[in-house]
C-alpha cells in the first residue's frame, strides 16, 4: 500500500508563471480534503504535496526549489511516483457557511475542500490571495464549482488590495457565523490564526513541514509535540495556540530546528 506507485502525468496546466497543476494517471477515491501524498521524482527526491483533486489524483505545485523546479519541467506522459494519502484532513462543518482561504499553491487543497463543501450543500466562499493579479491561481476551478470568489492582491492589480486575511473582514461584514479553512504560506496562516482567535471564529489551517516518512515514524516534521504528517497537516486554530514552532521554526533534513523563512 505504501510503496510509491509510478504513473504517467496525464495533463499539465500552467496556472501562473510559478504555479502548475499536474493531473496523474492515478485515482485516490479514499482521500479526504486536506490530506497529502508524497510525490516522488525517481533519482531526485520525494516531497509532501496536498491533494487538489482525488480522482484523478491532482496536485497544484509552486516552483520554490530544486525539487519543484524539476517537477515543473516534467511533460505530459512522463513518469512520476506517489504514495498516500496521508495525514488528517479538514473536518468540514456542515452547519455554518465555509470561508476558504488559499495563498500561493495553497489553493490546491482549497479546491478539493470546495468541491467537497459544494457536494455537501455548504454555502462556500473562496478567497484567493497573491502579490499581483497574474499570480492568482486556479480561479477557473472555483468559478466552475459555482462558489463565491473573493480576490485579493498585495498591489491591488486585481480584486481587493491587501492580504487574503482581509477576506475574513469582508466576509464577517455579511455573515455572523462561519468557519475558516486555510492553506498557504505560514505568515499568512499566523495572521489568520490571530484573527480567528480574536474574533472567536472556528478555523482549520493546513501546515507544511519537511518530511521523510509521511506516516508518523521519523519524527522529522515535529511541530512542538505534534507530528505534522499524522496529527496534521490540518490543525484546528485552538491546537496552534502558544506553540513555540508555529510561524517560528521548522526542521531541516538533519533534524535541526531553524527559524522559518518568511515569505
Amino acid at each position: 500500500m505504501s510503496l510509491p506507485q509510478t504513473v504517467r502525468i496525464r495533463q499539465i496546466r500552467e496556472d501562473t508563471h510559478t504555479i502548475r497543476t499536474l493531473v496523474l494517471e492515478a485515482e485516490v477515491p479514499e482521500a479526504k480534503p486536506g490530506q497529502f501524498v508524497m510525490i516522488w521524482l525517481p533519482g531526485l527526491d520525494e516531497k509532501p504535496m496536498s491533494i487538489a483533486h482525488p480522482t484523478p489524483l491532482t496536485v497544484t505545485v509552486a516552483s520554490v526549489g530544486p525539487f519543484t523546479m524539476k517537477l515543473h519541467q516534467k511533460k505530459v506522459g512522463d513518469t512520476i511516483g506517489w504514495r498516500g494519502p496521508y495525514g488528517r484532513g479538514f473536518s468540514l462543518r456542515e452547519d455554518v457557511p465555509a470561508l476558504l482561504l488559499g495563498g500561493g499553491c495553497g489553493v490546491g487543497p482549497m479546491r478539493f475542500l470546495a468541491t467537497h463543501a459544494v457536494e455537501r450543500g455548504v454555502p462556500t466562499t473562496v478567497a484567493i490571495g497573491a502579490r499581483t493579479g497574474s499570480e492568482l491561481a486556479c480561479m477557473g476551478d472555483f468559478e466552475a464549482l459555482g462558489v463565491n470568489l473573493i480576490l485579493t492582491t498585495d498591489n491591488g492589480s486585481r480584486g481587493h488590495q491587501g492580504y487574503v486575511t482581509q477576506a475574513i473582514e469582508i466576509f464577517a461584514a455579511r455573515n455572523s457565523e462561519f468557519a475558516v479553512y486555510a492553506c498557504g504560506p505560514e505568515p499568512m496562516l499566523v495572521a489568520i490564526h490571530r484573527v480567528c482567535r480574536e474574533r472567536e471564529i472556528p478555523g482549520q489551517l493546513s501546515l507544511e513541514r519537511y518530511m521523510k516518512c509521511g506516516f508518523g515514524i521519523c519524527g522529522q516534521c515535529a511541530l512542538d509535540g505534534f507530528l505534522v504528517c499524522q496529527d496534521g497537516p490540518v490543525f484546528g486554530v485552538e491546537q496552534l495556540d502558544g506553540l513555540r514552532d508555529f510561524g517560528q521554526a521548522r526542521r531541516t533534513a538533519t533534524g535541526r530546528r531553524l527559524p522559518l523563512r518568511n515569505g
Binding site: M1, S2, L3, P4, T6, V7, M38, W40, P42, G43, L44, D45, E46, K47, T79, G81, R83, M211, K212, C213, F215, G216, I217, C218, G219, Q220, A222, D224, G225, L227, Q230, R251, T252, A253, T254, G255, R256, R257
Partner: protein, 315 residues
C-alpha cells in the same frame, strides 16, 4: 495499565529501572524532546533518541523510509543535527521524562573509533540514563568500508573507547548481518559493554519499482525492519542471551504483546519497539503492555523474572 493489577511489568536494564518492558527504539521519533515526552506519556518504559554523531548529517534524499508487505525498509543515512544540538534535546527530554520515571537512552554513532569516544563524552554531559552505541547501521557501509559491528576486534575497540569517555552504563547495538553474532557480543562484553541492544535492521535489502526499473529508496538499498525480521531477531537474542551475562534490550519486529513475551522468553531484559509505531501509532507502547499484562494474568505470572529465559531450555 490498571493500577489494581497484581502484575508487575517493571524491569531493570544495567541497573536502571524501567516502569515497564517497552522501549522506543532508536531512529523512530527520537529527534525532539517534545515528541520523546509524548512517547513517554504514551506508555513507553524507556525512550531512545535518534543516533547522533559529532557533526550534523543531512542523510540521504527521499524516499528514505517506506512500508511494504513485510514491514519497513529504510535508508535514512543517519541524519541528525549533531551532538551539540542533541545534547540540548537530551537535556530537555530528561527533564520531561524524569518526573514520569521513564529513563532516557541516548544513541550515538561515529565514523571513527576515536569519534565514538568524543560523541559519548559530549552526550554524557546531558546525563542520559544509558548510552547506546550504534555500531550496526546497515546503510553506511559504503562510507565506512564496513560496519563496526561486523568485526569483533573493531566492535571491542569502539566499546572500549566509549567506556573510557563516559561513566554512564553503555549498551552496544549489534547487527544481525554478521556470520556469528555471539562472537561480536562476547567481544563487546569483554571490552566493557554493560548491556547489549539486539538487533539493528536486517540486510540491507532492495525493493524495486518495476515500472521504472529503479530501487524505490534513493540510496538504493536499505535496512529491513518490522514483522519480516522478527524470527531472526528472536534467534539472535536467544544466541546472545545464552552466551553473555549482561542484560539484553531486544528488538526486531515486535508489534504486539505476544511478540514482546517471545523476547522475554529467550532472555531479554526489555523490549524495543520501532517499526510498530507505523502500524499502531504511539499507542503501541500501552497496547503492548496491556497485552503482556493480560497474558501474565491469565497464565498466573506476577513479574517478568518468572518468564525470562523460560524458552532457553527447549533449544
Amino acid at each position: 495499565m490498571s493500577t489494581h493489577s497484581s502484575v508487575d511489568l517493571s524491569t531493570t536494564l544495567c541497573g536502571v529501572r524501567l516502569p515497564n518492558l517497552t522501549v522506543l527504539a532508536s531512529g523512530v521519533l527520537g529527534l525532539s524532546h517534545e515528541i520523546m515526552a509524548r512517547v513517554a506519556r504514551s506508555g513507553a518504559g524507556a525512550v531512545t533518541t535518534k543516533s547522533c554523531s559529532v557533526k550534523p548529517r543531512p542523510g540521504y534524499h527521499n524516499p528514505t523510509i517506506l512500508q511494504w508487505k513485510g514491514g519497513l525498509i529504510n535508508a535514512v543515512g543517519l541524519s541528525n543535527p549533531g551532538v551539540e544540538v542533541m545534547v540540548e534535546e537530551v537535556r530537555a527530554a530528561k527533564e520531561c521524562l524524569a518526573p514520569l520515571g521513564v529513563p532516557l537512552i541516548a544513541s550515538i554513532f561515529a565514523d571513527t573509533i576515536y569519534d565514538f569516544g568524543t560523541a559519548a563524552r559530549f552526550i554524557s554531559e546531558a546525563e542520559p540514563d544509558l548510552v547506546e552505541v550504534n555500531i550496526s547501521c546497515p546503510n553506511v557501509d559504503a562510507e565506512y568500508l564496513q560496519m563496526f559491528a561486523a568485526d569483533p576486534y573493531v566492535a571491542a575497540q569502539v566499546t572500549h573507547r566509549v567506556k573510557l569517555n563516559t561513566d554512564i552504563p553503555v549498551l552496544v547495538k549489534l547487527s544481525p548481518n554478521v556470520t556469528d553474532v555471539v562472537e561480536i557480543a562476547q567481544a563487546v562484553v569483554e571490552a566493557g559493554a554493560d548491556g547489549i541492544t539486539a538487533i539493528n535492521s536486517l540486510g540491507p535489502g532492495i525493493i524495486l519499482d518495476i515500472e521504472t526499473c529503479r530501487p524505490v529508496l534513493a540510496h538504493g538499498t536499505g535496512g529491513v525492519s518490522g514483522p519480516a525480521m522478527r524470527p531472526i531477531a528472536v534467534r539472535c537474542v536467544r544466541d546472545i542471551c545464552r552466551a553473555v551475562d549482561v542484560p539484553v534490550l531486544a528488538l526486531g519486529g515486535v508489534t504486539s504483546g505476544r511478540d514482546a513475551i517471545e523476547m522475554i522468553l529467550v532472555g531479554a531484559a526489555a523490549v524495543g519497539i520501532g517499526s510498530a509505531v507505523a502500524y499502531r501509532g504511539m499507542a503501541v507502547f500501552r497496547q503492548v503492555c496491556d497485552e503482556v499484562e493480560a497474558y501474565m494474568e491469565s497464565h498466573g505470572y506476577t513479574n517478568l523474572e518468572q518468564l525470562r529465559g523460560k524458552a532457553l531450555e527447549f533449544f
